[in-house]
Structure formats: C-alpha cells, structure tokens
Amino acid sequence: MSAISVNGRTYEINAAPDTPLLWVLRDELGLTGTKFGCGVAQCGVCTVHVDGIAVRSCQIPVGTVGQRVITTIEGIGETSAGARIQKAWLDLEVVQCGYCQPGQIMSAAALLTANPDPDDGAIDAAMSGNLCRCGTYVRIRQGIKHAARS
C-alpha cells in the first residue's frame, strides 16, 4: 500500500510499483479521463502532469511517482492555463471524437504555462507527440494561440 497525490487529493493505492500510472488512474482510481492509446508513448493520449511537466503516464511506473504532484484532465481546469485551454477548445470547436483531447489539453496547458506566447515552432515541438486521428490539428494550433491571447 502506498499513496499518490492526484488533483490535490491523496489516494491510497494497491497496485504493484511497476504498474504504469495510466492503469492506476484508470482502473484503480476510476479517473478515466486519461486515455489509453498505444502503450508505447507514441500517441500522447495518456498525457498527465507530474509536477507541472507533461509526461506519458503509460511509461511512468507508479512506484516512481513518490510525493510528486499529479494533475489529470479532471483537475487541469483548476489551473489558469488549463482553464484557458479548455475554454479555447470550446470557443473554437476544436473537438471531434474527443478521445485524444485530454492528452492534447494536458500538453497544451503545460506549453502555455512554460511559454505564455508560443509560436508555431514551439507549438510543433510541444504538441507533435500527441496524435489526433480525427485530424483536429488546425484548430489545436488556433486554440493554443487563442488561449495565449485570453
């Protein structure tokens, strides 16, 4: 039994230490906003923040998290960058099927926190690890710029 901090709340967990954070969030804690897409850090739909840094939760053994602060799509709206990204996503109707969007929003929120006015190159660098099969990239780019101005 160990504990992790997610979205400001402490959870006791039973999972073995080598269990990827993704499956602890989804299967044990019921925080299903974080998605599974590839299992090998190729698609980014499992992106969460660990101490504010965007990481692929399918690659983070839960035993390595320790006291660090985890934020997921369910909690990112409590941050300024997260709230602005979510609003921009609605204002510009970025979303189609929506399955990749929790990961997109987590990557975009981390970008906006680190870089309040990202240009196209910065957006490419921060977002190219997040796949979208519906092809919403035009609006993701617009959405980040829109959020930066808000």
């Binding site: 499956w23 997921t72 099927c97 977002m127 990239y137």
Partner: protein, 727 residues
Amino acid sequence: MPRDPEVLEPGTLSRRAVLRGGAAVLGGLFIGIELPAGRARADELQAAGAALNAFVHIPVQGRVSLIMPAVEMGQGVYTSQAMCMAEELDVGLDQIEAIHAPADREHYGHPIFYVQATGGSTTTMAWTEPLRKAGATARAMLVAAAAAEWNVPASDLVTTRGVITHPGSGRSLRYGDVTDRAAQMVPPADVPLKSPEQFQLIGTRARRIDTPDKVVGKTVYGIDVRLPGMKFAALTASPVLGGKVSHVDEAPALAMPGVRQVVVLEDIVAVVADNTWIAEQGLRALDITWSPGANATLDQAQLWADTEKASTGPGVTVRKEGDATGKFTAGTPIEATYELPFLAHTSLETQNCTVHVHDGVCEIWVGTQVPGYAQAGAAQVLGLPPEKVTVHNHLIGGGFGGRLEAAPIVTATRIAQKVAGPVKVIWSREQDIRQDMFRPLYHNRLKARVENGRVTAWHHRVTGPSILARWLPPAFKDGIDSDAIDGAAEPPYALGDMLVEYVRHENGVPFSFWRGVGPNSTVFSVESFLDLIAHRTAADPVALRRVLLGKNPRARAVLDAAAAKAGWGTPLAASPFGARRGRGVALMHAFGSLLACVAEVAVTDGGDVRVNRVVVATDVGRVINPDTVVAQVQGGVVFGIATVLHNRITFAGGRVEQTNFNDYRLLRINEMPTIEVELLASTEKSGGIGEPGTVVVQPAVANAVFAATGVQLTRMPLDASLIARSV
C-alpha cells in the same frame, strides 16, 4: 459476420420503396421507412413524462430528451440531428439531452441501409427529414393539447423555447404541462415542416452539444465503463492471420498476483485480471503455440500479383454506353493501373467491449456504429434470443468504419461467456491492428482515348472484394458491389463511350469499410488518370477537367472556386522542405457532395513529400451546421494525407507487418499543411461530409507529386525511393 436475424432477404426489398440513388449513395439504395410513431423504446428515460414518438420524449419537468438514431464518433451528428429536431420542435439546444438509441431496428433502422448503422456519410441525407418530421409532429401534438386545454384554435398558438403561448389571452404553458395529454392523441400525418426562411437553428454555427464534457474528461467512452466487480482482460490472436491455438501452458500467467483466469478459445487467448496492466503482463508471460494454418505463406507481393491477375479476368458490366472497346481499336489509347493497399482504422480508442453474461441475459457496454449487429452477434454466440441482449451504446473515440462490424463484440462475448461477472476486454494497439478488418486492397485499370483534347472513350475496371455482399446482402445485386464502384460508375465528367466493370476478387484477408469507402479507390484512380492524360496531351490539369465538365456547371463551379482560391497557374512559393515543388488538383462527386481540392507539395532529394498547403472548395448542398462541414473537411484532409504519404498494411508469412504508431504513421501536427476551406452556398439536397475530404485530398497530393517530380506513382502509399533524385 453474424446476420441481423431480422435482416430482409433480397426479395423482400422490392416490396418497399426502393429507389436508385442517382448521387451514388453507399449501397445505391434508398428504402423509405414510416416514421415510427409508437412510444420511445430508448433506454435511460427516467423522467416522468411522455414519449411523443420514437425520437422525442418530453418530461413533465426538465430537459427534452432527443433520441439519436445515428451515433456520435466525432463527426458532429449528435449536434446536427438535435438541430433538426429542435428546429421543428421549437426548443433550444441548451434545453435538450441527447440519448443513444438502443438496439432496435424497427424504430431506429437507417432509412437507407434499413439495418441500424451509422456510416457512409449518410446521416444528414438519411435522417434530416425524418428527424425534422419527428420534431414537427411532437410540436403539433403539444400545440393541439394546449389548444384543447384552452379551448382555442391551435392555429392561434405560437411556440418558442419549449413554451406555448396564446397571444390573444396572454396565457402560456410549458411543453411538460401538456405532454401527458399530448401523448394520448393520435399523431397527425403530414405535419408541414418549416420553410428554410423560417429556420432559426439549421444553417447556423450552433455549438456542439457533446464537447463540454469532452474537454474536462467527463465523457464516458466504451473503454471507460466501470462496473462493480468488473475484471479486465487482455487478448491475443495468432500472429499468422487465421491461425488457431495449438497449445498453451496457463501456469506462468496464473502464478502472477492479480491474474484470475486464462481463457483459451479456438483462435484467441485471453488473460483476465484485476487490472488491464496485470492482464497484459499475464498474456506476455504465456508461451502459446499457434497452428498457423493455410495463411502461413500469405505474402504481400503475391497479394498484389493475384489482384493484378484477377483484374484481367472475367468481370461484370456496371455501365456500358456506346462502344468504348471499338474506339480503342481505332486509335492509340492511354492506359494505366492504380493500386491501393490494405489499411488499418487505428482509431485512438482501441477496440474494447465490456460484457456481463448472467441469469440468461447478456449486457454489453461498447461504442458501436452497428448496435443491431452487435446485439445479434452476441445473441448468436450465447444461443439467446436477441431481446435478451442489451447493448448500452457509448460515444465513440473514433469510428472511421472500424466500428461497423460486430466482430470485436462477438470476440468479447465469447470470452465473457467463460467469465463469472462483468469483464472489460481491451485490445492493445498491436492487437487492434493485427485483428482489424482492413480497407481492402483495390486495383483500378483505366484506359482512355483522347481526341482533340476530349476523352471519347473510357474504360474503368475496378477489382476488389465485396464488402456489401457480406454486410448488406440485399445491396449486392447482379454481382455488383455498389460501394466498390461508387465514383467509377458515375464520374462527373463527359468521357465519351463508357465501359465500367467490376471484378470481385477476395484473397482471405478480412476487410471492411474505411473512411472514404469505395471512392477512396475509384476517385483516386480517375483523378490520377486524368492528370496522366493531361501530361500526355500537354494539357493543364484544371483546363482539361473544365473541358470535360462542360455539361456539369455545378461541378465546374466547385473546381473553379478551388483553383481560384489556390492561385492555380501562379508560381509556387519556395519551400524550406524541398526544391522540387508542385501543385495538384482533384475533384470528387460522391456521397451527394462535390469537393475540389488543390494541394501544394515540396519533395526532398530523398523523395520525402511535405504537403504545404491544401485548399478545398465544397458544394455539399444545404448545410445543417457549416462549422461541422469545415471541421470534417479539415479532419478528412489530415486523414487522407496520412493515407497517401504513409499508410499501408502489408503481410509477410501470413503476419501483419505493422504493429503500432511507430510503423503505422499518422500525421502529426508538425507535418501539417495550412488548410483552407470554402463552402459554396447551395440549395441542393444535403450531401454527406464525413468521407469526402479524405477522398479528394489523396489524388490532389499524388498529382502534386507528379507535377513536382514528373513521376506518377501508381501504387500507394507514395514510395520515396521511386521519386528520389538519384532515380
């Protein structure tokens, strides 16, 4: 593929109003249905109140429930269907709740396919009128009930945002106040619909109703379902297509903490555990011996060669006008073949299905485009009557045709049958690709005679399997798969004497629908071939198409709009991505819509292609939600660029060679072109928009590469080695 037990046999179709769809609707059939007027059978209607028909439920208190016959998988139809109903019902989109229709073909069967399905870009074409009628009928019943209550003529009453007002007396009431009375009335027939000038919602950029939950992680997709006592299963099929389990030692998995059970089926091994990760680890611990079977020698080169050979064999005539064959003998025709590979769907939500078999019933939680086939498939596995199987449908994390089959649901049910309690079966990405039913391998053989800048004879021979023969048998008529030849049979151009043929060729690889369906192969081939003709006759590709569109002003307007917006004929800007640059054009008329596309590419010395800019002009007829049309074109273009640049599924030794996104590449944001979309105003009948962007961009990109390099590639995807400088 399990058959819907109630699916109509071919002979019974004729008793219905079967019309030949001129605009190449998938399946080419239009079957009229009566608007269901019975009480709603939709699940989850908790509130007290009345169902005024199968689509509209008015509670005494609270939000109006609208039941969605077509499923939402990102294409925006929950919003557009709600707009159609809300428009006529006179309620706001903020006042409604969208409910998934249950498996129930009688009430929610597709007006074109008859089976319950969402696909082929048909939702707007098929459902706009029935849903408007459902909204208008419900409104008329509510107004009649209010009129009876107040003893005034119904024609004196006005409705807005769910409130009925009698201006003469100033009285008003809410729909919920009269819903029980209205439900006792006989639904009126032929309620008039609003004229377009009266629309308040249709045609506006209404906000999507599904997105607020999606941006905060609240949406529950099938993969997110959680049930008390639920276990998690990982599964594998044979690496060789169609192989069977020969031997498996269950002990290594069962020794792992958290592993509960190993399920061994004829063709599948699954591990059931306390979470998905443990299930996956348990599966990896197993040493499974497979019996590969007949496909052990299946090889990609042989698959291409077999299809090529079939393309010269016997076929059936789809269309014959004049004597194309005779005209070819009299002159020197231009000839080419175009080959399209197997493709995987790779929705980001992998295949998954949660099943609970208990007490003589079966419950299924899944996101599916075919709830009826899902129900029938599970019922067949379990030997239960279909009504004992409940399908709880969900929003879908990407469809693209990959959820038009019951196969994954059947597999999950076969596993769940052996498990006590509910079990969520999740396909890993590798298994999602390996077990996919692929976009078929297609071969297109084209021949044309050109005289004085005009095409005077045209022969198009499409070779590929028939999806419809299995999926919708009544639509497979006279040996013709109307999907496979869609886009070939009725191209928008005047092409002289016409001969169009279809060769049904199947090769043992599972196949199904894929975004863009038949026109992905036919339109790619026609548009590529037109550029070859332009090249051989020293004509400009746009000018040639304009000549051939002389009798088709609607198509010509779309082509002209795209060409003008793209600056066709003007010099291309330098590109940092490559010195060789080119512009390509393509036109598509399918799914009831017309799209033209101009793509600009740069090609590196090594043969890598970068798409820099894409311009699309559309005439999709009357538009429900213009922003959704733009979004679908943008997304379809991205989907199509990945297809033409990167995507193929290949076989070696009977094994699918691709495993995950490292070798089945999707487009990433850093590879994006700018995309400009122009919607031409149109009062024509509404067409579909889910597929067309994907279809039209692929030949536009290929033609741009042809323009940039002087080499026309004819087997997709584009092969860098064939357009590298050294070649």
